[in-house]
């Protein structure tokens, strides 16, 4: 059973401390949602776990399947089964979705067996076709340059497609719901459902409750000022939808620290 364990994580961007002691544990098959207002460190947590060079870990730890995550380069974290769906996927002009995904699949195969000659073209084509059908994507999508000129919805769908092809064990979805209309949201949510069926652990970063109407979380956490200040079940999200974040702010100010 894959498990991601984050303990008292402190992270800086430059001189500024963004995460001030985050503790969280995610097991395969669970769906965790992290909610909270903008600028509280949700995306920082996602980027740090994946190893973006702009974020410095100043304290705490993260282990994944028993490995010290921060001692591994980004590509090894990915091959170990960690996935980050980007809030702002990066365009790679001139590189088609198919070529990119085949290179990514082959990198995985090669890491397991250095003599691997790569996935046979036909096998890959079938795999891609199947996943795209599942996500109701037009086959021509595979021939477009990755995220280059994609609409917001197309970018998010491409992220889910990558997840479906690479089959991670723990997936972090950073605001994957933002900028999606209802139809696109449904498709993305269906994609997540399929991952859940395959026993993937999901960390859903969002500040909208509406995503959680489609993807029911097992745990909901509220993040504020670099800490998780409140944790609960799915009903916590509904409570937030109704009452906003002010009651949590008040709780903190009254000295009842919701952390832990």
């Amino acid at each position: 059973m894959s498990e991601l364990n984050i303990k008292d994580l402190h992270v800086n961007i430059g001189e500024k401390e963004i995460l001030k002691g985050v503790t969280l544990s995610i097991q395969q098959g669970q769906v965790h949602a992290i909610m909270g207002p903008n600028g509280t460190g949700k995306s920082t947590l996602a980027y740090t776990l994946m190893g973006h060079p702009s974020y410095q870990v100043t304290g705490g730890s993260a282990t994944f399947k028993g490995h010290d995550l921060f001692s591994l380069p980004t590509d090894e974290r990915s091959r170990l089964g960690l996935f980050l769906a980007f809030q702002y996927p990066v365009a790679i002009p001139g590189v088609t979705v198919a070529n990119f995904l085949r290179t990514a699949v082959n990198a995985r195969r090669k890491a397991i067996n250095p003599a691997d000659k790569g996935i046979p073209i036909l096998e890959f084509r079938n795999l891609l076709k199947e996943k795209m059908r599942m996500l109701k994507m037009d086959p021509s999508f595979a021939g477009r340059y990755l995220n280059d000129g994609f609409s917001g919805g197309e970018k998010k769908r491409a992220e889910v497609l990558q997840m479906a092809v690479l089959q991670p064990e723990i997936a972090i979805l950073d605001e994957t719901d933002s900028g999606l209309d209802i139809d696109a949201l449904k498709i993305v949510s269906e994609g997540i459902h399929l991952l859940q069926e395959q026993n993937v652990g999901v960390l859903l970063i969002t500040h909208y409750q509406r995503m959680l109407n489609y993807t029911k979380p097992d745990f909901v956490h509220v993040m504020m000022a670099g800490r998780i200040v409140e944790s609960g079940g799915a009903d916590l999200a509904l409570h937030l939808e109704e009452h906003g974040y002010d009651w949590i702010r008040e709780k903190i100010e009254n000295g009842i620290n919701g952390n832990k």
Partner: protein, 448 residues
């Protein structure tokens, strides 16, 4: 310092530091007096000019002072040039389906042209054999050559370029299958020269692929001087693909003139991978109304290579169009120069010119200079240009590595994507493959 004061920098050349020139005495023994005259005139011009130095605008960024020209020797036919063409040419870049192939070495040629090509009246022949069989054609082509009076090395190619090819396509003759030639110049410390002539009569069309190459071995430099002259007649169309994969001991001076007449068009692909030093001057001139010229260049330099590409788009008639895109990547301690100019003459109303140069610098010691230029002498035109020198975007690397690709794979994919717009313009899988392999090789050794 007062406002009026200024400092004059003047590089003085110490005595005894005069640049050496070639130390050869060629003998011209052509039986055709026209050819004889052409070569002698070119040689006289060569002798009258000194080796270019950085005081000349076009040579400011390409310094020849480290090259001892007196060491280059004329190759002798008796020397063993029968070295087999490398296996790489077994699979010609234009593909197995072609109208004809000519393999050239400095004193030898192997020709294989399809009968249907000859039946159409197309001449695809080495200059050597033409001088004997079709002197009038040679005269027609040579009389066109208007040497740049300041270009020393194109004069050298004119004088010594015994080896070479003529492609002549008669009026309204169209050939679908590509024709290709390969110049394989083995040896060290030698002087190689080559002339290529392409002449398309009105309404004709053809595809021609030429590759220049040599073994990537040898420590002493060899010199290659080439002159390429192309005429695309009225309403004719030429696909021209040029690829140089010189060994890294070659100093390469190539001078190219492509003229497109009324309603004609050229689609010109230019790839540069090899040589120690290259100065390549290409002039693309739209000489007749409605002429169109498209030029797509790519280069990838490594080690201490220095590639200098000087391009000129001349709009000399109304309603002419030109479109130039050069893309390059650099690694190690290599250097590239691209200097481009769009010239629009007073007669060229409604000219539409575009030029762009994009560079991707992959190491901290590589350097790319990119200098666009416009010279427009009429009002009713549209000209745009752009030049960029950039590095690999770290956010792209992070994104790709987050999908499990090692950094090396991620960088290679980004570089391939960078060149993709140029690859799209290349009609031959073989050329694309050759370039993709070069990208891979050059990026691989950089890491080690």
């Amino acid at each position: 310092m007062t406002e009026n004061s200024f400092i004059i920098h003047r590089k003085s050349r110490a005595s005894g530091e005069v640049q050496s020139d070639l130390n050869i005495t060629p003998v011209f023994t052509d039986t055709n007096p026209f050819v004889q005259q052409y070569r002698q005139k070119a040689w006289r011009r060569y002798l009258s000019l000194s080796i270019p130095d950085s005081s000349q605008e076009h040579w400011r960024r390409t310094n020849l002072r480290g090259i001892d020209f007196s060491t280059f020797k004329l190759a002798e036919p008796t020397e063993n040039f029968q070295e087999q063409f490398p296996r790489i040419f077994d699979a010609p870049v234009a593909g197995k389906e072609n109208g004809g192939t000519i393999l050239l070495s400095p004193f030898d040629a192997k020709k294989n042209v399809a009968p249907q090509v000859q039946k159409k009246g197309i001449i695809f022949e080495t200059l050597d054999s033409l001088k004997v069989t079709q002197p009038q054609i040679i005269e027609k082509v040579l009389s066109r050559i208007d040497h740049d009076k300041t270009a020393k090395f194109s004069a050298l190619a004119g004088a010594l370029g015994l080896q070479g090819i003529l492609l002549y396509v008669p009026k309204n003759v169209r050939l679908e299958l590509p024709l290709q030639s390969i110049f394989w110049a083995a040896g060290e410390g030698l002087l190689h020269s080559l002339q290529l002539f392409v002449y398309l009569e009105e309404g004709s069309s053809v595809t021609y692929v030429h590759e220049s190459s040599s073994p990537n071995a040898g420590s002493s430099l060899s010199l290659h001087a080439a002159l390429i002259d192309v005429y695309v007649g009225p309403d004719a169309h030429l696909n021209l693909v040029e690829l140089q994969s010189w060994g890294e001991n070659i100093v390469n001076f190539t001078s190219e003139n492509v003229q497109v007449d009324r309603g004609g068009s050229v689609d010109w692909v230019f790839g540069a991978l090899g040589s120690r030093l290259t100065k390549n001057v290409s002039n693309l001139s739209m000489i007749g109304a409605g002429a169109t010229g498209k030029m797509s260049g790519f280069y990838f330099t490594d080690h201490v290579q220095h590639l200098d590409h000087d391009t000129q788009q001349n709009h000399l008639a109304p309603n002419t169009t030109s479109d130039l895109l050069f893309k390059g990547a650099l690694t190690d301690n290599s250097r590239s120069v691209w200097q481009g100019m769009i010239y629009v003459s007073p007669e060229a109303n409604k000219a539409d010119g575009y030029q762009a140069n994009r560079n991707l610098v992959l190491s901290k010691n590589a350097r790319a200079d990119s200098i666009p230029g416009l010279e427009i002498l009429t009002d009713d035109v549209r000209c745009t240009h752009g030049a960029t020198v950039g590095k690999i975007d770290e956010d792209q690397v992070f994104y790709l590595t987050s999908r499990g690709m090692p950094r090396d794979d991620a960088e290679r994919l980004i570089v391939e994507g960078f060149f993709e717009p140029i690859m799209q313009r290349i009609p031959f899988e073989g050329v694309r493959k050759r370039f993709q392999n070069a990208i891979k090789e050059k990026m691989e050794h950089t890491r080690n």
